[in-house]
């Protein structure tokens, strides 16, 4: 009997303890969300390729320096599933406070899609935000008059070249397309694999090449081509400029500018040939040059603009394509804004560009000198008439770019004709 009484005596004590713990936990939660207590901002970005995220380093700096008791937590989501994961989180109402993505609606990770659904905070009243958007990217960052995010750097899309291999063959970077075609034969004759390396099995790589060819043929001649396409004044299939672009792909292939079996090429097969100097150039974002340089310590890996039909119409795509937006449902919008405001300071932008391998936004916005490794692109980067964001970012959906990449595969294998590829792109635009 005594034992039972003892047990009974324990129950109220245990219940009271549970209540106390619950109350303490609730109090803890309350203080965490109160304006005076620490605020945790969740930040999502896609996973970097085996290196420390440049985003993490800016966030570390912010966490150490801010005096508002704000703590930013970085979540890295694998590239393949990034957009799908974030999309699901938005739908479920638990999306991160700050999300990374591409501006516009044309990329697979387009933030414009979230903006159209009213999921992003309008930053147009924040001077630090509106001042950070280059004029050329205005339509990417503004949706229905609302500023949906801020860029963090500028990503040039040139050729990444093995300068040491060029030197060993006594070649200069081609300044016109015709020179480039001549070099293709010269490189083969010298016993190298090819002038250009193409990961033809990946539509993202063939698509990027297509856009680089379109730079001088379409967008240097008519910078407003996308707007005209959106309003229905032009079409891909009806555009001689786009036909010339895709015909250039066929010509490059016929002239042996790509490695053998380019249609089945992958980055894994092209990269070793490139770093060994057997392939002289690849189509890739400039930021990759630093990583490739570390794989080829005896070679100088550099960047060069892909030549236009003439020197004068050579044009560079350089996109403020890494953007940060704030979730409209976030409970910590002010804290998230504080982070982005910190990020938009020139010293942070320069630091971030140095880490990401891209060009600092300050060079494009304020004409500050570009870093030494981009000296060859400086003429284009600092002249607004000779650079623009990647046009596919403005397209209404990612399938158009996919159709371009897949279509170029078809051109390489002989499965498709130029007109058919362009018709497919028009069909994707309408869908």
């Amino acid at each position: 009997m005594k034992k039972r009484t003892h047990r009974r005596g324990r129950r109220p004590a245990a219940t009271a303890a549970m209540l106390l713990i619950s109350a303490a936990a609730l109090a803890g939660c309350q203080s965490a969300s109160s304006s005076d207590g620490p605020v945790t901002v969740r930040f999502a970005v896609e996973t970097g390729f085996g290196k420390t995220s440049p985003y993490a380093q800016i966030i570390d700096g912010f966490n150490k320096s801010n005096t508002q008791n704000i703590k930013v937590e970085l979540t890295e989501i694998p590239t393949d599933s990034y957009f799908q994961t974030v999309r699901t989180m938005f739908q479920a109402g638990n999306a991160p406070d700050v999300v990374w993505g591409s501006p516009g609606t044309g990329a697979a990770n387009a933030l414009g899609v979230f903006a159209q659904a009213g999921q992003l905070v309008d930053l147009s009243k924040e001077q630090w935000a509106s001042a950070s958007v280059p004029d050329s990217a205005h339509d990417l960052y503004y949706v229905d008059g609302k500023l949906i995010g801020v860029p963090v750097d500028v990503a040039p899309i040139p050729q990444v070249v093995n300068a040491t291999a060029y030197k060993s063959l006594h070649l200069d970077f081609a300044k016109t397309y015709d020179q480039l075609l001549q070099q293709c034969a010269a490189v083969r004759k010298a016993g190298r694999t090819s002038l250009l390396g193409l990961a033809g099995s990946q539509p993202t790589n063939t698509g990027l090449m297509g856009l680089e060819l379109a730079a001088s043929r379409v967008y240097a001649k008519d910078p407003d081509w996308n707007q005209k396409r959106a309003s229905g004044q032009v079409t891909f299939a009806g555009s001689q400029e786009w036909r010339d672009t895709l015909q250039a792909v066929v010509d490059l292939h016929k002239q042996g500018c790509f490695q053998g079996g380019a249609e089945g090429g992958t980055p894994e097969t092209v990269t070793p040939e490139f770093t060994k100097g057997k392939i002289l150039g690849i189509f890739a974002p400039a930021s990759i040059a630093t990583d490739l340089g570390s794989l080829a310590p005896t070679s100088q890996i550099s960047v060069a603009v892909f030549p236009g039909t003439t020197e004068r119409d050579t044009f560079l795509f350089a996109s403020p394509s890494n953007a940060l937006s704030i979730n409209a449902s976030s409970k910590h919008v002010d804290a998230a804004k504080a982070l982005l405001e910190y990020w938009m300071q020139p010293q942070q932008l320069d630091k971030f560009a140095a880490l990401s391998g891209n060009v600092s936004l300050t060079s494009v916005l304020h004409g500050r000198p570009v870093s030494k490794k981009y000296a060859g692109l400086a003429t284009y980067l600092t002249d607004p008439a000779r650079n623009a964001p990647l046009p596919s970012l403005f397209w209404p959906n990612p399938d158009i770019y996919n159709k371009l990449g897949v279509g170029i595969q078809g051109l390489l294998t002989g499965q498709a004709e130029v007109d058919k590829v362009l018709q497919d792109m028009d069909a994707a635009w309408q869908s």
């Binding site: 739908q91 697979a108 033809g200 099995s201 079996g261 089945g264 279509g407 078809g410």
Partner: protein
């Protein structure tokens, strides 16, 4: 000794009561069995079937992953049947499934017959052949992708033995990409078919074959007249399983070619992935998924009906 006469009617009553009690126990027992099954049935229906049914509703909308979904009737299905890309993907799906069913079963059965008895190394060889089945399809596909690269080991070997003219971009060449995928998928699943047929062969009595041999039947006659008829139920199971698997192959195709070049290896599964998760067309993707599901069910039922004999 005097026997005790028990009235017949009394015996009948007792027997009837006993039967009723046993029947009651049996009925109670079967109800109890059903009660045990209820949680599993509810979970299966709730998690699998209801979620699939709920997902199917999106096939009739233009849902894009978030926001509101607008009902569009059969528009997505009309688009599917008017799209050459989808028609090609449908054809590729059926062709890949057919190749998968035929080659996996024929080779799997041949290996099972070869490794059923007699051979001393049969247990080791069975393990060796079954091993790819337990590997991740994605990992296996990436290994094969390396082998099939334009400058990969396969082409290197061909060049070494003087067959350099045969070297090609196996996965980039539309003439070879599809069959290359088929080779990988079949290779990885032969072991599973072999194990199923080995289990079937375990039920074929050696005495029957010996009797056939005594009666003068040769190896071919014994195979076609005795073994294969007895393996019929196993063939039904193996071919149905491989057909379902063949129709929904995704990992290997996605890893090897992602449907390329220019859609030459696109299947309904890869198309569902692209339309849904890359292009964000969840409604259209759901319609494609629904079509694939219906296709799998119909094909499996048809095949089952065709292969099953009346007595089965």
């Amino acid at each position: 000794m005097r026997s005790v006469a028990v009235p017949a009617t009394r015996v009948e009553v007792v027997e009837t009561e006993g039967k009723a009690r046993r029947a009651g126990r049996r009925a109670g027992g079967s109800i109890a069995v059903w009660w045990w099954a209820v949680p599993a049935v509810v979970l299966t229906i709730g998690i699998q079937y209801l979620s699939v049914a709920a997902g199917s509703v999106y096939a009739f909308t233009n849902y894009r992953g978030f926001g509101k979904a607008t009902f569009v009737g059969f528009d997505n299905f009309v688009k599917i049947f008017h799209s050459p890309a989808t028609t090609r993907a449908l054809w590729n799906t059926l062709l890949l499934a057919a190749c998968f069913v035929i080659f996996t079963n024929v080779i799997g059965m041949a290996l099972a017959l070869a490794l059923n008895r007699l051979l001393k190394l049969r247990y080791f060889l069975r393990v060796l052949i079954f091993l790819p089945v337990v590997l991740s399809p994605l990992a296996v596909a990436y290994v094969w992708k390396f082998i099939f690269q334009p400058n990969g080991p396969l082409n290197g070997m061909l060049r070494t033995v003087g067959l350099g003219d045969w070297a090609t971009a196996w996965l980039g060449n539309p003439a070879t990409a599809f069959s290359t995928i088929a080779v990988v998928v079949v290779w990885q699943n032969i072991g599973l078919a072999m194990v199923i047929y080995l289990a079937g062969l375990a039920n074929v009595s050696p005495e029957l074959e010996e009797a056939g041999a005594v009666d003068g039947a040769g190896p071919a006659a014994r195979l076609f007249r005795i073994v294969l008829p007895l393996l019929r139920p196993t063939i039904v199971i193996a071919s149905t399983l491989t057909l379902i698997q063949g129709l929904r192959v995704f990992d290997q195709v996605q890893a090897l070619t992602a449907g390329g070049p220019y859609g030459a290896t696109e299947t309904l599964s890869t198309l569902v992935y692209k339309e849904t998760f890359v292009n964000g067309k969840f409604g259209y993707g759901s319609a494609l998924s629904l079509l694939l599901t219906v296709l799998i069910i119909a094909a499996a039922l048809l095949q089952n009906a065709a292969l099953r004999s009346r007595g089965d």
